[in-house]
């Protein structure tokens, strides 16, 4: 099965939901016309990243009554969408979230589990952490979503792999940092290395949409990627430039790679469970 993916490597307006929604709708139209099956937006694509005290005023609920999600759900009748937003739950806790929309329905919402609160990051001050990592079924197969720091930790991609995700959709608003004389920032090099590694280690597709632009002194470096189950780069967006990328992936690649390299077949989750029981509970 062939799948046409589109990545929206966009800049956002900080705290301006309406302006960001308009940009989403424009790009959705463009992706539809390009024949894309799925359009992936970066982390917090509807709100901007460094929200601080803006968080409670830019939250949405992923349902058709919501003024932001209503139009997005309508648009998802033509093309599947992954969008980034602030989710406010019924108890008024705020999460960094990504929603997968398809044929007018919300198929899955992922709440960012790992909230970086160190260095330049302060997410734990403003957001509640998610508490689950789940794969979900789409009309193209079983997918999984993670947000930025989630895949700086090895366990969430591993869990998605075991839960059946053959396409991992990663969203970031990754601030660029780290000079070392190379033409690539240390943060960009790190994310590319790990994403390539996940693709290869889990013989799966890894799709990463990262934003661009600036918020005060922070730059966001873009360079969105798709890696195939052999760990090969399918496509990469430019660094620092707003861009719209489409690329075809062949899901039958999973068959070929896993026939050659049956890492999934040979994986031993019971061993992991057993050893984790011992490590955590001393059993």
């Amino acid at each position: 099965m062939k799948l046409r993916l589109a990545l929206a490597q966009i800049n956002t307006r900080l705290g301006d939901l309406r302006a960001n929604l308009e940009k989403h709708l424009t790009l959705i139209e463009k992706a539809s016309q390009a024949g894309a099956d799925l359009l992936v937006f970066p982390e917090l694509s509807l709100t901007g990243y460094l929200l601080q005290d803006l968080v409670p005023s830019v939250s949405s609920r992923p349902n058709s009554e919501d003024p932001i999600f209503g139009p997005l759900l309508d648009a998802s009748r033509d093309i599947d969408l992954m969008v980034g937003f602030v989710d406010e739950d019924s108890r008024h806790r705020f999460y960094i979230a990504s929603a997968y929309l398809s044929q007018g329905q919300v198929l899955h919402v992922h709440h960012k589990v790992y909230l970086p609160t160190y260095g330049l990051f302060d997410e734990g001050r403003f957001f509640a952490p998610g508490s689950s990592v789940r794969a979900f079924d789409t009309r193209f197969g079983r997918f999984g979503m993670l947000i930025c720091e989630d895949f700086w930790h090895a366990s969430p991609p591993y869990l998605l792999w075991l839960d059946g995700a053959d396409v991992m959709l990663f969203a970031s608003a990754s601030p660029g940092r780290g000079l070392n004389g190379e033409a690539k920032l240390e943060s960009s090099a790190w994310v590319e290395h790990t994403n390539r590694a996940y693709a290869g280690l889990f013989t799966t597709f890894v799709v990463h949409a990262n934003r661009v632009g600036f918020e005060d002194g922070l730059n966001f470096w873009g360079g969105s990627t798709i890696f195939d189950p052999d760990g090969k780069l399918v496509v990469q967006g430019p660094y620092f430039e707003e861009t719209f990328i489409t690329a075809g992936i062949d899901l039958n690649q999973l068959h070929r790679t896993r026939a050659r390299l049956p890492l999934l077949r040979d994986e031993h989750p019971e061993l992991v469970q057993h050893e984790l029981e011992r490590i955590i509970h001393g059993k």
């Binding site: 307006r13 900080l14 705290g15 301006d16 460094l50 601080q52 005290d53 803006l54 660029g176 000079l179 070392n180 004389g181 190379e182 033409a183 690539k184 920032l185 632009g213 600036f214 918020e215 005060d216 002194g217 730059n219 660094y239 620092f240």
Partner: protein, 274 residues
């Protein structure tokens, strides 16, 4: 301990021109004002601003004092001619003399601070006249060491080079076609005749940048820097300078009384809503 102060100038240039363009345009402006001292730091900020905004949108200010070195003005002119920006020359002598004359015993430091703050007044006045934002020229070395006049040369609306050490600014300058004479002359605030940064600080930028890189960027302890061969006296002096000058790097503290106080729990980026 590996020292890596080298930068890819193409990468840095791309980020910094993007930063200048973004932060000026989203604030509703399209122009910049820069105090051009004739030195390397302001030269780099100036060229980056010309590249980001177009040189017709950059106003270079030459603000000499009567004892300023003739080279300073000449080097500023070299840049203005080469990059074709607008410029204005406003001597500050007549502004500052009445205040200086007030106290016959005034120290060189006080006079220097007055000059730096007079230049800030002119820059912010030109900011309104030219409808451009003041682009800063302070590098990471001087910000960490506090080698700057508060509300003087450190005053700006945005600073593109504040995360580059002096030796990194030099690398960037070489890639920006800045005249060699500006890159190679001894750095000086030019506040009195014969003043040089390295003479006044008591160490070279080459040496202190390496030390700062270990202490600040790589988070080595001072004693580890001494073990690695840095002179203990230098390490102690630099560590103390960094601590003592923190006040120049933050907004003045507000005494907290209410449940919501600017600076503590009223937190928004400047780019809020844009």
């Amino acid at each position: 301990m590996e020292n890596n102060l080298s930068i890819d100038t193409g990468l840095v240039r791309k980020i910094l021109t993007g930063f200048i363009h973004s932060e000026i345009t989203r604030a509703g402006f399209s122009r910049a004002v820069i105090n051009l001292s004739g030195g390397i730091d302001s030269a780099v900020s100036f060229v980056l601003a010309c590249e980001a905004l177009g040189s017709q949108n950059v106003m270079a200010l030459c603000l000499p004092y009567e004892t300023s070195s003739a080279d300073s003005l000449e080097h500023a002119r070299l840049l203005i001619d080469q990059f074709g920006s607008s410029s204005v020359t406003i001597p500050i002598t007549e502004m500052v003399e009445p205040l200086i004359k007030h106290d016959p015993d005034m120290s060189a430091v006080r006079k220097g601070n007055i000059m730096a703050r007079a230049r800030m007044i002119v820059a912010y006045d030109q900011s309104e006249a030219f409808k451009g934002l003041v682009v800063g020229t302070g590098n990471k070395t001087e910000i960490l060491l506090g080698y700057t006049t508060l509300y003087g040369d450190s005053a700006c609306a945005l600073n593109p080079i504040g995360d580059l050490y002096k030796t990194q600014v030099r690398q960037l300058a070489r890639s920006l076609n800045i005249p060699d004479v500006i890159i190679t002359k001894p750095p000086s605030a030019d506040l009195w005749a014969g003043q040089t940064d390295e003479g006044e600080l008591g160490f070279t930028y080459e040496a202190v940048d390496k030390l700062l890189y270990f202490l600040v960027d790589q988070r080595y302890r001072p004693e580890e820097c001494v073990e690695a061969g840095f002179e203990e006296k230098l390490v102690r002096k630099v560590v103390e300078r960094i601590r003592k000058n923190q006040f120049k790097r933050v907004l003045p503290p507000i005494a907290k009384l209410s449940n919501r106080t600017v600076g503590y729990d009223f937190l928004y980026l400047r780019d809020w809503g844009t």
